[in-house]
């Protein structure tokens, strides 16, 4: 993205028909640490890469429970994400008060998207700098949505956002057709593998990632570190027996035969690419 004279205001169109401020907001999402989502017929799993700003600080919280049947993972300006999750929680609880039934996740996603759109059309506002992966249930079953700062939203079988998300996406693209029939444990395993792709040099541990699950008859819950560590350790026992874990780099190459940073073929596209500016028009 290069600076130009049409990018100061969100309410100024460029001659090419683009709103640069909105695109810059989407850049902010790409700068945040990765968040991944995938779903089966009965479960949706969200996973995040948790960065700590320094060795002394705790890891950032990027998984939020919105209601018993809805939760989100965010990438980008997590402060904006907290504000949006407060709005979402409020909407859910208001719906529950009036109708005594859970707000269908598709409705909530549309409301968030419309809220985000407002910020792209007011000169005194700025777009939200956070992308949300929304996992939730409605009458038809479990769903995974992505809410973009542009005010767009789309449903996905599996998606990844944030920095180094292309690696995770590549893994998901290869495997997503099997997700529908997966059990909860298999889905979590896939999520952790995808997170692993986004963590280049680091060793996967309960300290630098987070996982949350929601399912039919199972309320949204963020896995506690102990359970998460158990899943991580179980990952290795499920892999090929010929390897020994020395460095994650070697393991990554074995689990995904495609180069990490998306320079190889894309395969089946499950999610809209964030690299080209045509995101907004879709």
């Amino acid at each position: 993205m290069f600076r130009n004279q049409y990018d100061t205001d969100v309410t100024t169109w460029s001659p090419a028909g683009r709103l640069h401020q909105v695109e810059y907001a989407m850049e902010a999402v790409k700068q945040g640490s990765a968040a991944i989502g995938l779903r089966s017929k009965t479960y949706v799993v969200l996973a995040t890469v948790n960065k700590a700003s320094s060795e002394l600080s705790a890891h950032q919280k990027k998984l939020f429970k919105i209601d018993n049947h809805i939760g989100i993972a965010m990438a980008g300006l997590t402060a904006d994400g907290r504000v949006l999750s407060r709005y979402m929680r409020s909407e859910c609880i208001n719906h529950h008060f009036v109708f005594e039934s859970p707000l269908p996740v598709g409705r909530l996603v549309v409301q968030v998207a419309d809220k985000a759109q407002v910020c792209t059309q007011r000169s005194w506002k700025r777009p939200y700098g956070v992308g949300l992966l929304v996992a939730g249930l409605d009458e038809a079953g479990p769903h995974l949505y992505y809410n973009c700062p542009s005010g767009n939203y789309a449903e996905y079988h599996a998606f990844a956002i944030g920095s180094r998300s292309q690696a995770a996406k590549t893994y998901l693209e290869r495997k997503f057709e099997t997700f529908m029939e997966c059990t909860k444990e298999e889905l979590i395993r896939h999520a952790l593998f995808a997170v692993k792709e986004s963590l280049q040099e680091e060793e996967l541990s309960s300290g630098n990632c987070g996982v949350a699950v929601v399912g039919i008859d199972e309320p949204f819950v963020v896995l506690d570190p102990k359970t998460l560590q158990a899943y991580i350790e179980a990952l290795d026992s499920g892999k090929d027996e010929m390897q020994t874990i020395e460095e994650t780099g070697a393991d990554d190459r074995q689990s995904s035969q495609v180069p990490q940073e998306g320079t190889g073929s894309r395969g089946i596209s499950v999610g809209a690419s964030e690299d080209t500016p045509t995101d907004m028009e879709t």
Binding site: F97, V98, F99, E100, S101, P104, G106, R107, V110, D138, E139, A140
Partner: protein, 261 residues
């Protein structure tokens, strides 16, 4: 004096109208000694509604009378209305308030449909929503003068409940409103069971509607029964019940009691 007050009210009303347009509380705002009031009495009223769950769904019955005080003024009032795909609402009480409630529910259904997704409002959702509407009106000390009955079937779950004008709501296997509470519910308690067929349920409701026709002065012998199943709502055409008036005691009523009638 009374007529002076009325005169003052008239003047204040005209003045108020000139100053504040057609605000119905205008003269109360100009003359604070006259308090803002809301209508506290119903005018055109419907009597009991009865409802029971049966094997395949819910049955709700009501007559088609709209009374104007002690007069049976309107004899073809539809007091049972379908809402959405799988719910039915029946009303006792002020019919104009019922019509307003139907408009409110219509707006709700349409707004919900505009989301264009697979999510529909079921009987529990509408029940809760109606409760909020009734309770909020009551909090303004301007209640909708109705007791509403709500029944439906969605995803195999049968639902039946009431909402009163105070904003109280509850569910049960069999419910009634108005006089039905006193005359029909005791019969339900004795004779209702979970596995009634459509015929048995209809017979039970007809028996209770007959009792109400005999004993409730605002009831008429013209009723509708609605059958709500998973497949939808079906309201019957109005029909009459067989009544019996040829009791011996009626043929010579003054025997043993000369001078009576």
């Amino acid at each position: 004096m009374r007529w002076e007050e009325e005169g003052m009210k008239q003047n204040a009303f005209i003045m108020g109208n000139k100053l504040m347009g057609s605000n119905p509380h205008a003269f109360s705002l100009i003359m604070p000694s006259i308090p803002i009031t809301h209508t506290q009495t119903p005018y055109v009223t419907g009597t009991s509604v009865l409802g029971i769950k049966y094997k395949d769904g819910v049955l709700i019955a009501a007559d088609t009378a709209g009374s104007y005080g002690s007069t049976t003024r309107y004899k073809s009032v539809e007091r049972l209305r379908p809402i959405g795909q799988n719910t039915l609402v029946g009303a006792t009480g002020e019919m104009s308030d019922f019509q307003t409630i139907l408009q409110i529910l219509d707006r709700l259904i349409i707004t919900n449909a505009m989301f264009d997704d697979d999510n529909t409002l079921g009987p529990p959702d509408i029940h809760s929503y109606l409760n909020r509407v009734m309770y909020n009106q009551r909090n303004k000390l301007d209640p909708f003068w109705n007791t509403l009955m709500l029944g439906g079937v969605k995803n195999g779950v049968k639902y039946l409940g009431n909402v009163t004008m105070l904003g109280l709501h509850y569910v049960d296997d069999h419910v009634a409103t108005g006089f039905g509470i006193h005359l029909a519910q005791p019969i339900f308690r004795n004779e209702w069971n979970e596995d009634m067929t459509l015929e048995q349920g209809t017979k039970l409701l007809e028996k209770c509607m007959l009792v109400l026709f005999y004993r409730d002065r605002s009831a008429i012998n013209k009723m509708q029964i609605a059958n709500i199943t998973e497949d939808g709502v079906k309201i019957s055409e109005p029909y009459a019940l067989q009544t019996k008036w040829d009791y011996e005691a009626f043929s010579n009523p003054t025997v043993g009691n000369e001078g009576s009638w």
